[in-house]
């Protein structure tokens, strides 16, 4: 297990290093100088030069890349070109909306998908299976932001159960905060739940055909007991992979959903930064998202080994 974890850890560090290089140099090729942009077209050359020095833009690229990396490792993402405040603080504020939203959605999607997938697999070929599969087929096709608008129309505008947008803030209590994230989380979760339910069903059906399942039935377990005791644990591997992948889609999806609900999350921050050409903010948010995706996949790899001891032995 230790060797497996170390190998994965090495691959994690390598991926992060390459990803950070790609992001840094893509942003570097952006036309225009941030200092000139901030000061406007009438700025004096010496003022621009002074600001360039202040922002650390006058040192060679390689050196800037290394200090950017070292800064991020220490939690310092630099200073926003537009707001002149630390980027780390801006991101931390927004993360308190985006991260709980993604986790809330992930929880909902798992809670919906597991029973739906298990139900469909247990009733393969029967009407119950057809209904679940039909619903998931539709769920996969629905754009989450459109679904979000429909939720607003029904539950906020017509029924008035929820606000149409905005975030109440965590300082008013956990429940109030969760309440204002509920519609966005449902909108994010349902299409993902559809995918997850399909994977769950298909993974279970694969396992149900295996020899050891026949053995389990032969030793006297009922179909249901065999499913719960043996099939589920084995089906968890493909399901875990998808959950890991989904987290990245949920974080990215949260950026879009935040626009529907006017939530002050990472999405709003990054879109404002793009229009203000605040490239250091864009760079940091993108790096954070990619960091999250790579790290979650690393954790999923480790979780595999816990669920399936064969993987530990193999690598």
């Amino acid at each position: 297990m230790l060797r497996y974890s170390l190998k994965r850890l090495l691959s994690l560090i390598l991926s992060l290093a390459v990803a950070s290089l790609v992001i840094f140099f893509v942003i570097e090729v952006a036309p225009g100088d941030p200092a000139s942009f901030m000061l406007g077209i009438n700025a004096q050359p010496d003022t621009v030069a002074a600001l360039r020095a202040e922002l650390g833009l006058d040192v060679p690229k390689a050196e800037r890349y290394l200090s950017w990396l070292a800064g991020m490792a220490a939690g310092d993402f630099g200073t926003s070109y537009t707001y002149r405040t630390p980027v780390a603080g801006m991101i931390a504020d927004r993360l308190w909306v985006s991260l709980p939203l993604a986790l809330y959605a992930l929880t909902l999607s798992t809670l919906i998908a597991f029973p739906a997938g298990i139900y469909a697999a247990a009733r393969r070929g029967k009407p119950g299976d057809a209904v679940v599969m039909g619903a998931t087929q539709l769920g996969v096709a629905v754009p989450n932001f459109w679904f979000a608008m429909m939720l607003v129309l029904i539950f906020a505008i017509n029924l008035r159960w929820f606000g149409a947008g905005g975030f109440a803030g965590w300082e008013n209590g956990l429940l109030t905060g969760l309440h204002s994230l509920t519609l966005p989380a449902i909108a994010l979760a349902l299409p993902q739940a559809a995918i997850l339910a399909r994977v769950m069903r298909s993974a279970l059906l694969d396992i149900l055909g295996e020899d050891f399942m026949r053995t389990a039935r032969a030793k006297g377990l009922s179909r249901r007991q065999a499913l719960w005791r043996h099939a589920l644990r084995n089906a968890l591997i493909p399901v875990l992979t998808i959950i890991g992948l989904q987290f990245s889609f949920l974080l990215a999806g949260a950026i879009i959903i935040e626009q529907v609900f006017y939530l002050p999350g990472l999405g709003r921050l990054v879109f404002q930064a793009i229009s203000a050409r605040d490239l250091i903010v864009v760079e940091s948010v993108v790096m954070l998202l990619v960091f999250a995706v790579i790290t979650v996949n690393f954790l999923v790899d480790l979780a595999y080994a816990l669920v399936d001891p064969r993987l530990r032995a193999r690598t």
Binding site: S11, L14, S15, V18, A19, V22, I23, V26, I27, V29, A30, P31, G125, M133, Q137, L138, V140, A141, V142, P143, N144, F145, W146, M149, M150, V152, L153, I157, R198, V199, R201, S202, A203, L205, S248, F249, L251, A252, G253, I255, I256, Q259, V260, G267, V270, F271, A273, I274, R277, L279, V282, V285, V286, L289, V290, V293, I294, N297
Partner: protein
Amino acid sequence: MSRNLILGGLLSALVVLAALTSFLWTPYDHAAMNIPAKLQTPGAAHWFGTDHFGRDMFSMIMVGARTSIAVALLAVGIGMGLGVPLGLAAAARRGTWADEVIMRGNDLVFAFPSLVIAILITAVFGPGAVNAIIAIGIFNIPVFARVTRGAALSLWERDFILAARVAGKGAARISAEHILPNVANLLIVQGTIQFSLGILAEAGLSYVGLGAQPPTPSWGRMLADAQTMVSFAPHMALIPGVAIILTVLGLNLMGDGMRDWLDPRLRGRGG
């Protein structure tokens, strides 16, 4: 042929037909504003109603189908064009450092969701439909590379490949002449799935302003326009949404149907 394939094929054909017809004919000029006729609900004069500028939504949906299809199709083209050769090369050099580099590179690209790529490209070059194509296309590359490699790996163990090797053919020639035709079915099915995902991604990118820019009509932009009007003109949000859902549903059903048709072992499995 399965019911899925027929229904999916019909839905997809309808969308393609609407897009192609829009080059020759639309009920109204899709960009023509007519403020006195704004926010009309669907009726005889305007089958899908009008938007807040009085533009005919039916014409906009027809022309928007063009944008969606073009972006998604080109993105699949990029993904296949680069991903398939990479996958074939990785399989041909399986177990070597070349395979390892290609597959780790794929993992890395996988860590950049298309929205994140689009954010990066837009931050550098500004928004536009081309960004959407590149962003979705890049995300498609590792998908096709993995599918191709996975299928090609088992083929390399087969007797007919051994025969080709004995006949003196090199790895590149075997990949092109024997492996590729045998994975083509799988690639067509995956292409259909990525095409439908591309339609969804294009809509999302246009919705947040990273995709097609006005005056190019796109379903995602129509939804962005509809957002503030949804309480008094719900048709503005409903119609583009239903257009996206039916297109994606059609393509997915077609993909499922084709998979079952091409590989009877999978029949009734779904997933």
